[in-house]
């Protein structure tokens, strides 16, 4: 029997008005990978914040027993001293500092305030080798991708002599290859005796890597599954998470597909900064009335860039190509013209690009189409409030009032406000870019239902997602994009995960040989 490294006993944490954690018990054995799963707002992150001292001792009730001792962490430094390191979902690296500087930020090598740079970068390079990152520690963090940044965070944790590594949604912004590498790395460290706690929404990853899975729902532990005794199927985990079995993760709809209403031909976009680099290369696709097309592909395939460049040239330079709307050629030089022609783009980055966090649900809802609630530019507040209420009701957004600031909402509810904002703009063609990223299973289902409702009304949806099951579950037709090119079009009923992946892999080979020749 392995030794218990961590035991959290009867942890209860209340925020004013809400019980975030209710008598939670968690046991983690030395050298295991323990996954925490649960819907958004279930209390996973709160629990980890309690553990790492972000919520200091005294602000919660219950005991943390680490390595056989009761710990009373006052801040994150106390827990780090004992080797508990947390890596948050939002990476905390300084873009304009080098990898080496970042890794020892707040933990500098040297004596008496004088930094020993040789030691810093030397040690950094060693640690980078351990995580398998082939970058010099002198590289600036802004010059490496998110996947590599995640590895830098892990290397940084190793530099603190970590014994218990906590990862909060480490793969949320990674593509499949990068995610796989990261998970394999965790298994590698496990062999060396490191313990990890992994918070994730991606159940396939959890079942791939975890030894035990603890399911948290509404601030309580529902169940802990052990690899030795229980089967880690997605269905068992999901049913524990949502408290009901989701036999059907994707709501059914009867397709009523009409004629082609939107067509893009020979769409080329250059990178906005690096001249001559094609982000979209002669892309062609079409969309029929009442149809959902999925655009699948890995991160960096150019899907977001394609969508944004179509939507009022919001991305890229040197854009060329043709757009046909109901058979007539149109041009969208600005976002406003795109909106007027009935196009809406729901961004993948709801906090950064989608919503104005400091403003109310009400004001966000009307922000894409203010002319609908105003007359000669004078806003009719009553109309605005009425509209906002309607959409909150339709989307089933959980909020106290429509005057609540968006920043206070959970991810899923933010996404609903963002969707409501764009539905209010009354688009005929809705481009959804990763609409379910980082939101829980229940909210995902509701968003799928909203998509179905829209196409039933004769609108068309372009659905961009990195999660293949949902592309397959929702699309009438699937386009596959890779390295800026549309490489395949597959009818929905024929599409499988394997087919899409093999398209991507084959096209990659094609590109590699082309590079070798040139």
């Amino acid at each position: 029997m392995a030794k218990k490294l961590l035991e959290m006993r009867h942890i209860t944490k209340t925020f004013p008005g809400v019980k975030a954690l209710d008598d939670v018990n968690l046991e983690v054995e030395e050298g295991e990978i323990h996954a925490l799963v649960g819907e958004n707002g279930a209390g996973k992150s709160t629990l980890m914040n309690v553990l790492s001292g972000i919520y200091p001792h005294g602000s919660y009730s219950g005991d943390i027993v680490y390595n056989g001792q009761i710990c009373k962490f006052q801040n994150i430094r106390d827990s780090e001293k004992l080797g508990i390191v947390i890596i948050h979902q939002e990476l905390a690296l300084v873009p304009l500092l080098t990898i080496g500087e970042n890794m020892f930020l707040g933990n500098e090598r040297g004596v008496k305030g004088r930094i020993n740079w040789a030691e810093t970068f030397g040690r950094a390079d060693e640690l980078l080798k351990m995580v398998g990152l082939k970058e010099s520690s002198h590289t600036l963090v802004k010059d490496i991708g998110v996947g590599k940044q995640q590895l830098v965070e892990i290397a940084k944790a190793l530099g603190k002599n970590v014994r218990l590594l906590i990862l909060d949604e480490p793969t949320a912004s990674l593509n499949d290859t990068e995610a796989k590498h990261l998970l394999d790395l965790l298994r590698e460290f496990k062999k060396k005796g490191m313990t990890s706690i992994l918070i994730s929404h991606k159940l396939n990853e959890v079942s791939y890597v975890a030894d035990k899975i603890t399911v948290i729902r509404d601030g309580s532990v529902i169940q802990t599954l052990d690899k030795k005794n229980d089967a880690f199927t997605e269905d068992t985990i999901i049913s524990a998470m949502v408290g009901r079995s989701l036999t059907d993760r994707f709501p059914k709809r009867v397709p009523h597909i009409g004629e082609v209403c939107f067509e893009v031909k020979d769409w080329c976009v250059d990178h906005p900064v690096f001249e001559g680099i094609k982000v979209c290369d002669h892309v062609n696709f079409n969309l029929r009335r009442g149809e959902v097309i999925g655009i699948s592909g890995l991160m960096g395939a150019g899907r977001t860039e394609l969508a944004m460049s179509i939507f009022g040239h919001s991305y890229g330079s040197d854009i060329s190509g043709h757009i046909y709307l109901n058979g007539r050629e149109v041009r969208f030089p600005t976002v406003k013209t795109a909106i007027r022609h009935g196009i809406a783009y729901v961004t993948e980055d709801r906090k950064g690009n989608g919503l104005i966090l400091s403003e109310s649900i009400c004001r966000n809802t009307s922000s894409a189409r203010p002319e609908k609630i105003s007359h000669h530019n004078i806003i009719n507040f009553d109309r605005e409030r009425q509209v906002a209420k309607e959409y909150v009701k339709e989307m089933r957004t959980k909020c106290a009032t429509i005057d609540e600031n968006v920043v206070n909402l959970s991810g899923g509810n933010m996404q609903k406000v963002l969707l409501g904002k764009w539905l209010f703009a009354e688009p005929d063609i809705l481009i959804l870019d990763e609409p379910t990223r980082g939101i829980d299973v229940g909210a995902k289902y509701e968003i799928y239902c909203i998509i179905n409702k829209m196409v039933e009304q004769g609108k068309s949806v372009i659905f961009i997602s990195s999660e293949m099951p949902e592309i397959l579950g929702m699309s009438d037709r699937v386009y596959v994009m890779n390295a800026g090119r549309m490489i395949a079009e597959i009818p929905g009923r024929d599409a499988t995960q394997e087919k899409i992946m093999s398209c991507i892999i084959n096209s990659d080979k094609g590109i590699q040989t082309a590079d070798a020749e040139s």
Partner: protein, 405 residues
């Protein structure tokens, strides 16, 4: 019922912290001034004085607020524009004998052009506003010195002065000489009538609006709250009017300021372009992806600042009865301070014209009160600096508490 009432009272207090702080500061000064036997803060002539002294701050703070809303951007060139436009006004009217109205129009155009000059660099070339307006601060101060050749033009013609520094009703000096009592009572009567008309118009407009809301089935605020708001508004108007009436009547400058504040308040709160200012400051990328042309919004904010600086310049020339190359020194700091005291966010996206006005009055009362008390002017500066910090601290703390609750 009672719990919901107390909750809403708490909320009203929180939403109007600076207004309440202003009242407290006024009462504090009043106590100190009376205790030290220096007269009264609320003496009719002092109220007139406060209005005349601070009109330009309110005008500039209104413009500055729009800039700050776009993302915490400030305009450092304001004081220099005031000097330069003042210099243009002085030259055109006194030296070149232009028609006053044409000269005023010319000055406003010059202000708009200067603002547009800044706006082009900031909005379309994307040079940081701080740098552009810092350059403007040096440039227009230099231009003012060049135009005036380092000298001061004075006095301004009476016709010009009466445009900005007269009172409603305008009572001739003859009448004051012949029958001072009658002149005083006439002034008081007219002032009060104007105030009462204002109150009636406001109350009727509010009642009508409430009625239409009811009829169309929209929600309305609680009746008690509604009446309380009307009463506070009318009380403030009537109280100020009764004080002004006992002095010289309503300063024309107050009317000018009131129009500017009303127009810009309406613009920022009730119109779509006004809403864009908040959207840009709240999240520029989201605003762009919602179809807002953020460059145009930015350009407008700075062009408008140039225009309002020109208005302030005309007011200042009238008040000092001269056009001096050193005019307007540090006015930008008064305007910026007023906005922040009035609750604008240094990151943009939040703040109101009303708040900036309260901030300006706050600073004005502070200056005035300390002057009456005979506080040394060096100390006055130090105190103002601390008060600015305290006011913002107070605001930050109350917001923090609100967030945690």
């Amino acid at each position: 019922m009672s719990s919901s009432t107390s909750y809403s009272i708490k909320r009203i207090l929180k939403n109007n912290t600076m207004f309440i702080a202003l009242i407290i500061v006024m009462l504090l000064f009043q106590v100190l001034i009376v205790a030290t036997d220096n007269g009264s803060l609320f003496a009719p002539s002092n109220i007139t004085n406060i209005i005349n002294q601070n009109a330009y701050v309110v005008i500039l703070a209104t413009g500055m607020l729009l800039c700050i809303l776009t993302g915490g951007n400030i305009d450092l060139s304001v004081g220099s524009i005031v000097a330069f436009v003042g210099a243009v006004a002085g030259t055109l009217i006194v030296n070149l004998h232009w028609n006053i109205y044409i000269a005023i129009a010319m000055c406003l155009i010059v202000g708009i052009l200067i603002g547009a000059w800044h706006g082009v660099w900031i909005a379309f070339v994307h040079i940081p506003p701080f740098i552009v307006t810092l350059a403007g601060m040096l440039l227009w101060r230099g231009a003012a010195l060049i135009v005036l050749n380092g000298l001061t033009i004075s006095p301004m013609p009476d016709k010009y002065l009466t445009l900005f520094s007269s009172y409603v009703p305008s009572i001739s000096y003859d009448m004051i000489d012949q029958d001072p009592e009658k002149a005083a009572s006439l002034t008081f009567a007219v002032t009060m009538i104007v105030a009462i008309v204002c109150c009636v118009v406001f109350v009727v407009a509010q009642l009508l609006q409430r009625n239409t809301k009811r009829r169309k089935g929209y929600e309305t605020s609680a009746a008690g709250l509604f009446i309380a708001r009307l009463m506070v508004f009318c009380f403030v108007i009537l109280a100020v009017a009764s004080l002004l009436g006992k002095d010289k009547g309503i300063p024309v400058i107050l009317l000018i300021v009131a129009v500017i504040v009303a127009v810009y308040s309406y613009y920022t709160q009730n119109t779509v372009p006004g809403r864009y200012l908040y959207a840009l400051g709240g999240n520029a990328k989201a605003a762009q992806l919602s179809g807002v042309n953020t460059d145009h919004v930015m350009f407008f904010a700075y062009t408008n600042m140039g225009f309002l600086s020109a208005v302030a310049a005309l007011v200042c020339v009238a008040r000092f009865n001269s056009a001096a190359p050193t005019a307007g020194t540090n006015y930008e700091m008064d305007a910026i301070g007023s906005c922040f005291i009035g609750g604008a966010s240094a990151y943009g996206g939040t703040g109101t014209v009303g708040g900036a006005v309260i901030g300006a009055i706050f600073m004005g009362v502070l200056n005035n009160g300390m002057s009456i008390l005979g506080v040394d002017s060096n100390w006055q500066k130090a105190v103002k600096g601390l008060v600015l910090l305290l006011a913002v601290l107070f605001d930050v703390m109350s917001k923090k508490r609100k967030a945690s609750k």
